[in-house]
Every structure is written in structure tokens, then in C-alpha cells.
């Protein structure tokens, strides 16, 4: 590895910087391209146009505005917990990005329990949201926090089950191996384009994306922040940069989940074609420039998936709370269980 020659402390600095870029760059891009621009276009308006060309500097204006605002803690709030909660939510995003492989050697960590770690860490944000709602000493916040907890736990399960199909097919929980498998495997003997799992695990992909939508509390699953019922849900009492952190975490997590979904279903950092020169089973023959090209390919795939997430967000109205729960337990979980069963059977047969 290229980095092996530099001292450990410098490696650590590189990793931290890389993590910050991998979290904040997708978040900023998603907010500007989708939240500011695409949503405006879908509502037949132009969105921000004044700050920079086509409003491209709007994000900095917004961040500047938030940083100037007063950091208010309600009098009866549980001060320390209240102030900690947004950071906890953001930390889970940073922990998530740690397992995403961006290239054959461009990754932060690479270990065999990657999928397991990813699923475990993604529920840390639930804790952050729950304690944010609880410590605010506000009934709206608490209801929002409880709703978030119920929703995130309900949709954690279909997400785990959807990923299981991929894990069965790849025969590994290592995200790097999953990428390599997708790009070098064959679909029922035909190996023209490798085997991106979106083709063979399409049901899993659908369930995963719906569960991600709910995990991110994006509409139509945005009951925890339902502004017409709960003011702003668990974020009601937050102001200034703590609100900003919640906001960044929301879209950074959207970006990271899009990255994870592209790793699991779209072939990750590879382009699955034969001329690409994939080694039959393993990454040792892949050219070095993929460490630069991989992140770019990942970014493109991330944008495509983020577009899908945001498109659904801007198109659909909010579910009711009971509909939300019923959808998770009565539709998504049975469907993904059947999917796992079919995958297992086909895996054994072929």
C-alpha cells in the first residue's frame, strides 16, 4: 500500500481528513444539487440564485447564518445530554463511512465483519435522536424522539434482512469482497457484466432503499419531524450550530447510505465490464489508478441513488404513524424474508 511508507500519525491525519471529505462533500453536494436546486425545479421555481453563480455559494451563506445564531439550551433541559445529542448523531455518520471501500486500496478500514459493523453503527444515530427528544423537556421533542425510535427500529429490521440476501450471495460480510464479487462473478453462468446485485437482488435493493428512506427520516417517512404535527420533532429546541449539525448529519447520512447501497447493490467502485480486466477472484490485478477512479465512480453512483432518495422525498406526502409501522412489519419484513429464502435456495442450486 502506498500509505504504508508514511508514519502512523500522518496516516491517521490522512484518514481523518479523508473521512471529513467523504462525509461532508456528499452532504454538501446533496444539499445543493438536490435539496436547493432539484426540489425547486420540481416545484417550478429556480431556488437560490443570488449567492454565487446559480446560487452555488448558498450553502456557505446558510452555514454562516447558522453559526451566527445563539446556541440556546432550554432552562429545564438536561443540559449535557441536550448538547451532546447532535454530535452523537453526526458521529454515527463518521463511523459509517469508515467501512465504505472507495477503491482497491482506498478505504479507511477493511475488515470481515463490515456489513455487521455497518448495520450496528447505523443505529447509534437512533440513540442520539432519542436522547435529543428526551432531554429537550418539550412534549413535541419527546413525541418526535419516540416516533423516531419506533420508526428507526422498525426499519432497521427490513434493512438487515435486505442486506442478508447480498451477504448470502457474496458469501462474505466484507464490503470489499462484496464489491469484488459483484464485478467478477457471473449471473447464472453469463459473465458479460459481472453480477451487480441490483439485478439478482432487485427485491432486496427495493426493500433496502425504502428502509434507508425511513432510516433517514426523509418524506414520506418523516413523522419524527412532521412539522404540521410536531413543530420540528426532536429538533424543535435546537438552534444555531447544533441544529446545523443535525442538518449536516441528516444529509451526510443520506450520502453515506447511498454510498453503502452502491457498494452493496451497484458494484461499488468498479465498473463491471469484461474489458476492465478484473481478476477472476480477487483485487490483486486491478490497476493502481482505480484508487483515484474508484472514488469518482462511487461518487457518481452515490449521486444516482441520492437522486432516487430525494426524488421520492419530494414527490410523496407523509405516511400516518400507524401506516408506517404496518408497512414495515406487514410488507417489508415478509417480503425480505421471502427474498432471503429464495436467495438461499438459488445459491444452493446454482
Amino acid at each position: 500500500m502506498m500509505l504504508a511508507s508514511v508514519p502512523y500519525w500522518l496516516q491517521s491525519i490522512f484518514r481523518v481528513l479523508g473521512g471529513a471529505v467523504a462525509v461532508l462533500l456528499p452532504a454538501g453536494t446533496i444539499v445543493y444539487v438536490f435539496l436547493f436546486k432539484m426540489m425547486s425545479f420540481m416545484q417550478s421555481r429556480l431556488g437560490p440564485m443570488e449567492a454565487g453563480p446559480y446560487g452555488s455559494m448558498q450553502l456557505f451563506a446558510e452555514v454562516g447564518k447558522w453559526l451566527q445564531k445563539e446556541d440556546i439550551t432550554p432552562e429545564r433541559a438536561d443540559r449535557r445530554i441536550f448538547r451532546m445529542a447532535p454530535l452523537l448523531v453526526l458521529v454515527s455518520t463518521f463511523l459509517l463511512v469508515a467501512v465504505v471501500p472507495f477503491g482497491p486500496e482506498a478505504y479507511f478500514t477493511n475488515f470481515d465483519a463490515g456489513v455487521f459493523y455497518m448495520l450496528a453503527v447505523s443505529s447509534v444515530s437512533t440513540l442520539g435522536i432519542l436522547i435529543a427528544g428526551w432531554s429537550s423537556a418539550n412534549k413535541y421533542s419527546m413525541l418526535g424522539g419516540l416516533r423516531a425510535a419506533g420508526q428507526l427500529i422498525a426499519y432497521e429490521l427490513p434493512m438487515v434482512l435486505a442486506v442478508l440476501g447480498v451477504v448470502i450471495q457474496a458469501g462474505s460480510m466484507n464490503l470489499q469482497t462484496i464489491v469484488v464479487k459483484q464485478n467478477s462473478d457471473s449471473i447464472f453462468g453469463w459473465d458479460g457484466i459481472g453480477n451487480p446485485y441490483i439485478l439478482t437482488q432487485f427485491i432486496g435493493f427495493l426493500v433496502f432503499m425504502i428502509a434507508v428512506q425511513a432510516e433517514l427520516t426523509q418524506a414520506p417517512f418523516d413523522m419524527p419531524v412532521a412539522e404540521s404535527e410536531l413543530v420540528s420533532g426532536y429538533m424543535t429546541e435546537y438552534s444555531g450550530f447544533r441544529f446545523l449539525i443535525f442538518f449536516i448529519a441528516e444529509f451526510a447520512t443520506a450520502g453515506v447510505f447511498a454510498l453503502i447501497a452502491s457498494v452493496l447493490f451497484l458494484g461499488g467502485w468498479g465498473v463491471p465490464f469484461r474489458w476492465f480486466g478484473w481478476a477472476p477472484n480477487g483485487s490483486h490485478e486491478i490497476a493502481n489508478w482505480m484508487n483515484v477512479g474508484g472514488p469518482l465512480i462511487m461518487f457518481v453512483k452515490m449521486m444516482v441513488l441520492a437522486f432516487l432518495i430525494m426524488w421520492a422525498r419530494f414527490s410523496y406526502p407523509r405516511f400516518r404513524e400507524d401506516q408506517l409501522q404496518r408497512f414495515a412489519w406487514k410488507v417489508l419484513i415478509p417480503v425480505s424474508l421471502v427474498n432471503i429464502m429464495l436467495t438461499a435456495i438459488l445459491k444452493v442450486v446454482f
Binding site: M38, S40, F41, M42, Q43, S44, R45, L46, M49, W311, A312, F314, S315, Y316
Partner: protein, 175 residues
């Protein structure tokens, strides 16, 4: 009694919803020359033409005002201030007595109070008050929204011409 079932949509509603947003997106992104563009107007750079009957501001034709005070008295929030005095005008016919007329000294409307109900325009018997579609008269200080008769008179230029009468309507007989 069971309600009649609504007709089944051709495409599932969920996909239709996605189609609506995507079409709007395409329409907004399309260049203006091809009939695209947003429904909104980039206001300070390009101006919207208000509808002809827009209630922008109230304009005053001073010559028509007889200081009858009907508008000031009918105004629900008392935002019209009128002062006048009696004056003598030359007689209509030679040798007649000079006519007594009301001269308008002050006609102010406080647009900080005005709620744009238009009762004053309705009630004016001499066609002295008009709706103008002009809307760019905001002020940094609320007190500056009290506009006097010269300013109200300037807005007369922006008042659109009265629309044609409906076919068959009776024309007002001129004296």
C-alpha cells in the same frame, strides 16, 4: 350504499406522482426559448406585470375630490386624513354670484394602517379614488408609509384605463 369505485388509473399512483415531479423538473430546466422556465419571476431583476385589477395602492385624482369625507368616514381603520377649506370660485355664468367650493388642503393615506379593503374607492361618489397596480412603495421606516396627496396623485399615472362596458350596458349620460 357503496360508493361507485373510481376508475383505475393507467399507471400506478405512486409512479404517476414521480412522473409529475419529474415533468415539472424538465419543464423548469428547459430553456425559456423552448417554452420552458419556472413559474416564478426573479423579482428584483425582472418584474412581474400585475393583473390589471390588482390592488396595489390607492391613487387620488385631486380635481375630483370635493372633501365630502365619505371615504375617511367609511374607512374601517381610519387611515385617511382629510382637511379642506371653503373657497370661492368664479361664477358659471357672467354676473352670477361666486360659487362656494371645497378646496382640498390635505389628503393623506397611511398605508401602514390601510388594509386594502377598497371601501374608500367604492364609496367615492366623484371618482376621485382609484386602485393602481403599483406595488413598489415599501419604506424602511413605517412612518414613511403615510403618503400625501401629491404622492397619491403621482400614482394616478399607473391607474389602468377603465375597461370597456359590457355589451348592452347603459352609457352614462353626459350633461
Amino acid at each position: 350504499m357503496a360508493l361507485p369505485k373510481p376508475p383505475k388509473p393507467k399507471a400506478p399512483g405512486l409512479l404517476k406522482g414521480l412522473g409529475v415531479t419529474l415533468n415539472t423538473l424538465a419543464q423548469t430546466v428547459k430553456p425559456k426559448k423552448l417554452g420552458g422556465g419556472a413559474q416564478t419571476v426573479q423579482y428584483p431583476h425582472e418584474k412581474e406585470t400585475p393583473p390589471i385589477r390588482a390592488r396595489g395602492v390607492i391613487a387620488l385624482r385631486e380635481d375630483n375630490c370635493t372633501v365630502c369625507m365619505l371615504c375617511a368616514r367609511s374607512c374601517p381603520d381610519w387611515c385617511i386624513f382629510i382637511e379642506g377649506h371653503k373657497d370661492l370660485a368664479p361664477p358659471r355664468r357672467a354676473g352670477g354670484a361666486p360659487r362656494k367650493v371645497n378646496k382640498l388642503d390635505r389628503f393623506d393615506i397611511d398605508f401602514a394602517l390601510c388594509m386594502y379593503c377598497g371601501i374608500c374607492v367604492e364609496v367615492c361618489p366623484f371618482d376621485a379614488l382609484f386602485w393602481s397596480p403599483e406595488y413598489e412603495y415599501s419604506e424602511p421606516h413605517i412612518a414613511d408609509l403615510l403618503h400625501d396627496k401629491s404622492k397619491l396623485g403621482e400614482w394616478m399615472e399607473t391607474v389602468p384605463a377603465a375597461p370597456d362596458l359590457e355589451a348592452g350596458a347603459e352609457k352614462k349620460k353626459g350633461k
